[in-house]
């Protein structure tokens, strides 16, 4: 290949990267304006309390099964693995501490967030995307009803309200699962299990921070879900791409946000 051919190929590649970056930044700007518009319509969402309750049902209640079952299994596996390692130092009695701190600080908010993104986030994206494709959003606009207030904001707040509750339930079921495996199955002393746990888990430091994390993750998932749905191309491929983007994007953002929050919360920087 001639040198001018290589140069042209490189130029083309750079142009694509540049175009892609510009497109991403434009999209980010659009998403930010969207977020502010959704927040602006929040009073409308709570005036239509019926709608928001319905969305809490669809996002939260319908995710209960997967959250509860996953929490239980995660807790049980944590107990199994934890005991195996702690036995080497004769510190099985600390199992409660290990399980509780892992769940409340990290696994509860993060895993519940990832599951929530896959189940509820993709459902919301698909719903809004399909509404857009079948012109229901346009019809609403033409009837002088702002779809952001009536369709988007209730789904956003439904997600934000559901997430902390789901994360708390995940952690609770996890602790219970660890109790079943550690105390009932393996035979660790129940008193030591609960007592050591209570002494080590601090309300302000661990539980409150865990709740803050789950609220932040809920906002991330809810925002990405409604945005991708609203921005989807009105075709079958468009909706499918949008749901994929919701799940992948939310998951990555949750993990990144988890890192940032953990640095601030648990390394003594700031909060």
């Amino acid at each position: 290949m001639s040198s001018s051919g290589i140069a042209r190929g490189v130029a083309r590649g750079l142009r694509r990267v540049g175009g892609g970056t510009v497109e991403t930044i434009t999209r980010l700007g659009f998403a930010s304006r969207f977020f502010i518009a959704v927040l602006y319509h929040t009073p409308g969402a709570f005036r239509r309390l019926r709608l928001t309750l319905r969305e809490i049902y669809f996002s939260g209640v319908l995710s209960l099964v997967i959250i509860l079952v996953s929490g239980l299994f995660v807790g049980m596996v944590l107990a199994l693995q934890g005991v195996e390692v702690l036995e080497r130092y004769g510190a099985q009695e600390s199992l409660g501490i290990v399980v509780a701190l892992s769940l409340v600080r990290e696994l509860g908010p993060v895993v519940a967030g990832l599951l929530f993104a896959s189940r509820a986030g993709s459902a919301v994206t698909a719903e809004i995307g399909l509404m857009k494709a079948t012109e229901q959003i346009a019809a609403m606009e033409m009837m002088a009803v702002d779809p952001l207030a009536r369709v988007v904001a209730p789904r956003f707040w439904g997600g934000v309200v559901s997430m902390p509750l789901l994360a708390a339930l995940f952690s609770t079921l996890g602790v219970f699962g660890a109790y079943l495996v550690g105390v009932k199955l393996i035979g660790i002393d129940a008193g030591a299990f609960w007592g050591n746990m209570q002494a080590a888990v601090d309300f302000r430091r661990d539980i409150v921070n865990g709740v803050i994390k789950s609220v932040v993750f809920g906002m991330i998932v809810a925002l990405i879900a409604v945005f991708e749905g609203y921005d989807a191309k009105p075709t079958a491929e468009g909706v499918s791409t949008a749901t994929t983007r919701t799940v992948v994007g939310s998951s990555l953002m949750i993990l990144a946000a988890d890192f940032v929050l953990t640095v601030f919360m648990f390394r003594g920087v700031g909060l």
Binding site: I56, G60, V61, V104, L165, A168, Q198, D202, F203, V211
Partner: protein, 155 residues
């Protein structure tokens, strides 16, 4: 799916969610055991506080009676100054001994208070006179080796 059913399920969901949070706070965490109960402050000075951290428990006879509030270095005497918050209802005599102990081999570091016989009690802001610093393993080993070496030399 009519409205009444949805409302019912949302109500159940929110209730069990909040119940889970309460469970975590009380049974898993230490919400009630360390409330801002009324109490008073005591100070103690140590040559070495060891691995003592803020919010470490203060125990007497193994029972938690308070928490460590803050630890700082006195720039003049190079002592570690520990400020403790003792819960209301526990009074310690003026000749109480405060020592830095470790619960178990790998356990957490805490302050132990041994009350004496003095009828006069420590008031708010008082300083405990007698203290015993933390045991540093390296110094112990060094001391042990030194004694062993001295023993061998004397023979």
């Amino acid at each position: 799916m009519n409205r009444a059913t949805i409302d019912l399920w949302v109500g159940i969901f929110v209730t069990i969610g909040i119940a889970a949070l309460i469970f975590l706070s009380l049974k898993v965490g230490n919400l009630l055991t360390t409330t801002n109960a009324p109490g008073y402050r005591l100070e103690a000075r140590f040559d070495n506080v060891g691995g003592l951290k803020p919010r470490a428990p203060v125990k007497a006879a193994g029972v938690v009676v308070g928490r460590v509030e803050s630890i700082r270095l006195d720039p003049k005497t190079y002592e570690g100054v520990v400020t403790m918050r003792i819960n209301e209802g526990f009074n310690f005599s003026k000749d109480t001994i405060a020592s830095v102990l470790t619960s178990g081999l790998l356990g957490e570091v805490y302050i132990n208070l041994d009350a004496g016989g003095d009828p006069a009690m420590l008031g708010n802001g008082a300083t405990i006179a007698k203290t015993q610093s933390a045991v540093i393993i390296e110094k112990l080993i060094g001391q042990f080796l030194f004694e062993k070496a001295a023993e061998g030399a004397n023979k």
